[in-house]
Structures are given as structure tokens and as C-alpha cells.
């Protein structure tokens, strides 16, 4: 290019760029507010309900537009990380419970403590949204796991009608008895072969025994305790003696095929049974434990606000709207979700009249989430690998637990 054209060309590009940025700025200041929201609920059964809630909100707030973007579980986490890193994250983000510390500890989420402190008593399970005593995420649709029992197999094994195991001895007994019915029938479904599953099944046993992974001051790993040893010994016996070991989906398939007597699962299985096998002779019950009920794993979906958002107040207002009792009820009915975060919602007959949904509601009170630490994703991996070594490769329990403790403490020291 001729050099004499170079300078004017650069000036024109600069001017156009400046004009574009000015016009964009004036839009955000004067025009209606657009709140960008990234969320994961894409199932056709729930999508229209979310659209309707948004429409209703926009009617009530004519100056606010909600721009909803659907993410998938396959790559949603990556997209959120990239968006935060590149400064293009939306105003509101739905986050899985164990992702929150990762983003709150790096300053990407807005501290909403002062604005929600009065709401805490009305909602379940704030713990995963709290980091260093500040609240960064609002609980929305939660999830816990309960014990599913095939009543036909229980009957076949001559257990009394309405009998359910409430402690570990009884659980083991039911497991062994059903397992001995036939060669291809197993007492219990034990997880393997998938990430993010096995630890969710083992930890509730550990927590039921009052076990801790990290010390209260967050500095040490106390996982290799006597409690961990005893619970793992029990879980190993359950897994190796009378269980089918497979992925969650395959365990659930086998349960529905009448090949597994008991599985621990979430509300998605209940939805599947109601839709596909309404005739299934099902019993759901609380997780057995040293004290009944035992602890279960609590996870779920949380709503957080981008720390860089220009519309934090409006974003919080929308979050409070979508998590209010009525909207959560609409959501749960459409999606058949058993654990709304709003306590008021759980009082609706939709939950009270369904004995299985009630099990989930009650179990939520005896559920626990993993410690909200930014390193959790690594800690989880260390625990899961140790569990696999112990359960499936005969690694000595005490030595392997101690190795896991050392690995976790190495991580904690790197802070």
C-alpha cells in the first residue's frame, strides 16, 4: 500500500472504532437493561416454563430484558471459565454447587452477602455458595440422593412388607439376601468407571459417621481417620460382596430391569420411573446410617452474579424472582424436580402428596455438600482415585488413605 494512504486509513479505523464504542456505551446507559443469563436447563419439558417465567418478569419490569443462553453439561464449565477469563461472562450464571469456590476465590463472582442475608433462613443449603464467610451464589434447584428399593425383590427375599433398612447392618443384610436370590441378581448398585460419581456415593457414608475431609481451619486433611477406615471397610464389603459395579446409568437400567435390589440415586431416576415404568414396585427411603437417617450428598444449581456486571441489582432482583416459592413450584412441576431451594415451595401438596418426593424433601435436611474450597476439583480427584484403588484394586485401606491425605495436604499448602 502507498505510504501516503496509511495514516488516513489508520485514522479512519480509529474514528470508526471510537464511534462504535461510544454508541454502545450510550445504549447501555439510556436504553432498557439487558441481563445476560447463562443456564443449563435445556430439556424440552422445562424450557417453556423458563421462557414463561422470563416473560412474566419482563412484563413486571418493562425496562429489563433477559437474554437467556443455554449451556450443556458437556462443555458449559469450559465456556464459563473462558468467558470469565476473557471478560465476556454474562450478568447471571447458573453454576453447579462444586464450581462456585473456583470462581468466588478468583474474584469473578459478586459478593451478595448483604443483599441476601435476610433470605438465608428461607432457603436450603447455602453452604456451597459461601466462601470465606461471604455469600457468592443463591441456591436454586437442589439435589440430593435417596435409597431406591425394588419391593418385588424384597418380597422375593421374604422381607416383611414395609420393611426398609435403616442402619448399615440392615443394609448389608438386605444386600446379601437379595444377592443370594439368583446368580444375576445383585443386592446393591455400586458406582465405578465414571468421574464425579463414586465419591458422591462413598462420602455420605463417611459423613454419616461424622467424618471430615478438611480440618475446621482449612489447613489440614483429616481424611485418613479411623472413621474413614471403618466406613471404607464397610463400603468395600458392600461393593465386593453383594453389589453390581457399573456406571450410574447402567446401575439404574439394571435396577429397572429387576437385577439390582437397591441403588442410591437422585430425582432423575424417580422421573424416569414415573414416565417409563409407572408399574414398578418402588420404595424410596432415607439413606441408612449409624443414626437414622444417614447423611446424603447435596448438590444442585446455584445462581451467581458476575463481579464485572454493570447491573448487579437488577440481576439479583431477577434471581430472587426466579427462586421465589411460586416460580420454583412451576419449575419443579414441569421438570419433576424434588428439591427446590425455597423451603416454602416444599410445603405445596405437589411435594406433600407424593411419598417419594417427600423422601427427597426430608433427606435434604440430612444432606451435606463437600467443603467449599477452590481446590475441591483436585481433592475430589484424589479421593476418587484412592477409593478406586481400595475398592477395585485391593490397595491397603490405611496406607492408601494416608497417601490421599498427603496428596491433599500438598494441595492445601500450595494456596
Amino acid at each position: 500500500m502507498n505510504k501516503k494512504y496509511l495514516l488516513p486509513a489508520l485514522l479512519i479505523i480509529l474514528a470508526v472504532g471510537l464511534l462504535a464504542s461510544c454508541s454502545q456505551e450510550s445504549k447501555t446507559e439510556q436504553g432498557p437493561i439487558t441481563l445476560e443469563w447463562w443456564q443449563f436447563w435445556t430439556d424440552p419439558s422445562i424450557s417453556p416454563t423458563i421462557d414463561n417465567i422470563i416473560l412474566e418478569y419482563e412484563k413486571l419490569h418493562p425496562n429489563v430484558k433477559i437474554k437467556r443462553t443455554d449451556l450443556t453439561w458437556a462443555n458449559g464449565h469450559e465456556k464459563i471459565v473462558v468467558a470469565f477469563s476473557s471478560g465476556t461472562a454474562p450478568d447471571i450464571i447458573e453454576l453447579g454447587s462444586d464450581w462456585i469456590p473456583e470462581f468466588s476465590s478468583t474474584g469473578h463472582l459478586a459478593d451478595i452477602t448483604d443483599s441476601v442475608i435476610n433470605d438465608t433462613a428461607n432457603f436450603y443449603n447455602w453452604a456451597p455458595g459461601i466462601y470465606k464467610d461471604k455469600i457468592y451464589a443463591f441456591p436454586w434447584i437442589l439435589g440430593t440422593r435417596v435409597l431406591y428399593i425394588n419391593r418385588d425383590l424384597m418380597n422375593k427375599a421374604h422381607f416383611p412388607e414395609k420393611y426398609v433398612p435403616t442402619n448399615w447392618t440392615q443394609l448389608k443384610n438386605v444386600c446379601y439376601t437379595i444377592d443370594s436370590l439368583e446368580k444375576n441378581i445383585y443386592g446393591f448398585g455400586s458406582n465405578a468407571a465414571e468421574k464425579h460419581r463414586l465419591y458422591k456415593k462413598y462420602l455420605p457414608f463417611f459423613w454419616s459417621y461424622d467424618g471430615r475431609i478438611i480440618s475446621k481451619d482449612g489447613k489440614y486433611c483429616v481424611f485418613s481417620s479411623d472413621k474413614a477406615y471403618k466406613t471404607l471397610k464397610f463400603y468395600k464389603e458392600l461393593t465386593n460382596s453383594c453389589s453390581m459395579v457399573d456406571t450410574q446409568r447402567r446401575l439404574e437400567d439394571a435396577f429397572l430391569d429387576g437385577k439390582v435390589g437397591m441403588v442410591i440415586s437422585g430425582d432423575w431416576l424417580l422421573k424416569r420411573i414415573y414416565n417409563e415404568r409407572p408399574d414398578f414396585n418402588l420404595v424410596t427411603t432415607l439413606i441408612p446410617g449409624p443414626e437414622y437417617p444417614g447423611k446424603s450428598f447435596a448438590g444442585g444449581e446455584y445462581l451467581a452474579i458476575n463481579a464485572q456486571s454493570k447491573h448487579k441489582e437488577a440481576a439479583l432482583d431477577f434471581i430472587k424472582y426466579i427462586t421465589d416459592a411460586q416460580n420454583q413450584l412451576l419449575f419443579c412441576k414441569a421438570n419433576f424436580s424434588a428439591n427446590p431451594s425455597n423451603k416454602e415451595t416444599t410445603k405445596d401438596p405437589f411435594f406433600a402428596d407424593d411419598i417419594n418426593l417427600q423422601t427427597f424433601v426430608i433427606q435434604m435436611n440430612a444432606s451435606q455438600s463437600p467443603p467449599a474450597i477452590p481446590e475441591w476439583v483436585y481433592v475430589e480427584d484424589i479421593i476418587e482415585t484412592a477409593l478406586e484403588d481400595i475398592l477395585f484394586n485391593d490397595a491397603p485401606i490405611a496406607t492408601r488413605l494416608y497417601q490421599a491425605k498427603i496428596d491433599i495436604e500438598k494441595l492445601l499448602k500450595m494456596r
Binding site: E78, V81, V82, F84, S85, E102, F103, T106, H108, N184, A192, A193, E194, K195, N240, M244, V245, D246, R250, V377, Y378, T385, E388, D389, F392, N393
Partner: protein, 287 residues
């Protein structure tokens, strides 16, 4: 510059710009990242010199992944090559239904790796056909299936990889066999050479270029094994490989600096092997 020269450059520019933006820049940038402690969510990243490389060589997970990769490479390449050659020799003979066999053996090569991996996951699981067959033969398969045991997970993936790859390499061998002049075999027959002698003295030497080509591409492919591991074991049960480690570190933990350093170590290993193999090709005048 003449207008002809400018036009030429303009025509080349789409490819050239793409090369720079999507190939050269990421390649060099990841090399740079390998010397930093860059994590995607952190705001800053600082130069750490060779710290990532040093840490990798004392990282048991990485070393185990590297070891598994070598086991995969050393275990699959000879087996794949020998079976592919044997199949090619069999298919080369004229017999009814030869085309069906040829297509059948080649079929896995054109089927999605993910689909095959999912099918094999079922076959290997407790109650799957391979599991039941092993049980019937009294081979005492692992209690929870082949993919849920440290002793068998990696080898099971390797076996599937061999099954999947032989068809493709068989076709390459077949092409090589077709190019061997028939006169050589006729002359050997006249001289009273046995089948084995013909194979050792004619077939094998003349197939060497094809064999070396197969070994080179299979080595590079095997060093980069990922999809099978991702679908079948998620790197569990002692089956993690180098690329899977890089994926986990980079795209699950977002430790881009560490992952880039690991990627460059693998790059150097593959480059070394390729140089040795190309050297062999050159030495034998087979290029």
C-alpha cells in the same frame, strides 16, 4: 512489487493468514505458555523458566501417563503390523467371498472411534460378551469387568485399538503386495523355493517400504491415543495416557502453562521417534 506478484500473494494470503493465526501462533504461544504458570482463571501469569518441565518429571501422574503411552505404542504396533500383514496375505489369495472379508476387516477403520469404544465398553463390562467368553474359557476375568481393573484396563483398550486398526493397515499391505512383480514368485517356484522362502526372500523385503510407512504413522497415532481412553476409562484404572493427561490438566483444570509444557515433552518424544524412523527410511533409500 509487480501487480502479478501482489495478485499471487493475495491468492496465497487466505491460507497463509489461516496458517499463522490457527497453527503457527497457537504452536508458538503454547511453547511460551509452557514456561509460565498460566492458569485460565488467574489474571496474571509469570515466567517460571523450566519449572513446569522439572515439575512434570517428578509428577507421578504424568510419568505414569507417559509410561502407559509407551506401553500402548510398544504393545500395539508390532501386534497390529503382524496381524495386518497376515490378513493381507490371506486376503491376497483368490477365494470366494474375498471382497466381503476385505470390506469386513476394513469396516472398523471407517466407523466412528466413539461408537466402537462405546460398543467395546459394553463388551468388556461384567455380563458383556467378551467378559462372558473369558469366563466360559476359565480365564477368570476381573470381577467388575475388564475396564474396572488396573491390571486389565489399559490392555483392553489396546486390544480394541488393534482390532480397529488392522483393517486399514491390511489394505496398505495389500496394495504393497499387489505391487510385487509376479515374475519373482514364478522364478522362485521354478527354482523350487518353499512358501516360507518366498515369503522371507521376496515378500518381506519388497514390503519393507510399506511396513516402515505403517510403523511411522502408527507410532505417531499411538503416541496421541486419546479418544479410546476418554470414552472407555476416563484415564482411570491405570489407563491414563500422555494426551489424556494434557487434556485433563489443560481443559479440566485449566492449568495451561503446565499442560503446554507436557504437550511439548510429548511433541519432542514423537519428533525424536519420527526422526529415527525417517532416518531408517533414508538409510535404506526408501523415501
Amino acid at each position: 512489487m509487480s501487480s502479478r506478484g501482489l495478485t499471487g500473494r493475495l491468492f496465497v494470503s487466505p491460507w497463509f493468514i489461516t496458517l499463522i493465526i490457527f497453527w503457527l501462533f497457537p504452536l508458538l504461544y503454547s511453547l511460551y505458555l509452557g514456561f509460565t504458570d498460566y492458569k485460565l482463571l488467574s489474571d496474571s501469569y509469570k515466567w517460571v523458566g523450566f519449572a513446569n518441565f522439572r515439575a512434570l518429571f517428578s509428577d507421578q501422574q504424568f510419568l505414569q501417563s507417559l509410561k502407559n503411552t509407551f506401553i500402548f505404542v510398544i504393545g500395539t504396533i508390532p501386534v497390529t503390523t503382524i496381524i495386518a500383514l497376515l490378513l493381507a496375505l490371506l486376503i491376497d489369495k483368490k477365494f470366494p467371498g474375498r471382497t466381503i472379508f476385505r470390506s469386513g476387516y476394513f469396516m472398523p477403520s471407517i466407523t466412528s472411534m466413539v461408537v466402537i469404544a462405546l460398543i467395546f465398553t459394553n463388551l468388556y463390562s461384567r455380563g458383556g460378551y467378551i467378559y462372558l467368553l473369558a469366563d466360559m474359557l476359565g480365564l477368570s476375568p476381573p470381577e467388575n469387568g475388564f475396564l474396572l481393573s488396573n491390571k486389565t484396563a489399559l490392555f483392553s483398550v489396546m486390544a480394541m485399538d488393534v482390532w480397529m486398526s488392522v483393517g486399514y493397515y491390511m489394505l496398505l499391505f495389500l496394495a504393497g503386495l499387489k505391487s510385487i512383480p509376479k515374475e519373482l514368485y514364478e522364478a522362485a517356484e521354478v527354482a523350487g523355493a518353499s512358501m516360507w522362502r518366498k515369503f522371507v526372500s521376496i515378500t518381506l523385503p519388497l514390503l519393507k517400504p510399506v511396513m516402515l510407512f505403517i510403523v511411522v504413522i502408527n507410532t505417531i497415532k499411538s503416541f496421541q491415543v486419546f479418544i479410546e481412553i476418554f470414552v472407555m476409562t476416563k484415564g482411570r484404572y491405570g489407563s491414563s495416557t500422555a494426551v489424556y493427561f494434557i487434556y485433563e490438566t489443560g481443559l479440566n483444570r485449566f492449568e495451561f502453562g503446565y499442560a503446554s509444557a507436557a504437550a511439548y515433552i510429548l511433541f519432542i518424544i514423537i519428533a525424536l521417534f519420527s526422526i529415527i524412523q525417517f532416518g531408517l527410511l533414508k538409510q535404506r533409500g526408501l523415501r
